[in-house]
Symmetry: C2
Subunit: 130 residues, 2 copies
Amino acid sequence: MRFVPVFGKGEPNPYAEHFTGQTYLAPLNAYSESLKVPAANVTFEPCARTDWHKHTGGQILFVTDGEGRHQIRGGEIEILHPGDVVAVEPNVEHWHGAAPDSWFSQVAVTPNAPDNKAVWLEPVTDKEYK
Amino acid sequence: MRFVPVFGKGEPNPYAEHFTGQTYLAPLNAYSESLKVPAANVTFEPCARTDWHKHTGGQILFVTDGEGRHQIRGGEIEILHPGDVVAVEPNVEHWHGAAPDSWFSQVAVTPNAPDNKAVWLEPVTDKEYK
């Protein structure tokens, strides 16, 4: 399927080992010592999603295309549409990805770089994803 | 004209005194002590633009809708389209706004909050804007 997200599809995700399904990564602004907020666009094919993970410095998602899912550990699955913004505090476990029947694209802004590390946990099972 | 930016049009800009023409502001994620990166969507009617200004902690613009303009003091005017990202280092004087014949919308991410102050300078003249 041809899917053209606003901020570009980029290349197959080099961190694919921490994802289920096909995802793509398009780096946007690079890390700058003064700004400390690099960003990248992540695109998910239908059903694709991250593993459970947390960011030691938090993460902000700006949804631009398609329909997505987001869940904080212990909470309900949220449905995401373009225009939604998700601010996740440091060390909060979550996952995000596409809806079962839609591609999905979101700009991920990484605050508190370069000390903000992603800590990858277990995959999101099909049962958890539904 | 009906213009529906991805991240919402919001309300007439409360900082209108520092802008030429009609602009709108839609707050997105609020300031968080741990993330330090609040964001807002700014929408400009055709010809509308900021005054010259700088941010003591820098600014990152994510262009989502329409066609815009950006200029750093002493540089050429850049034409902006959806998918463009502009990272402006601290204390760099610039202005941004819409094209003469297009609405424009951009998410403005403010790193280094709450110590990142906007320092407003003179308006962008019609001659500078062209």
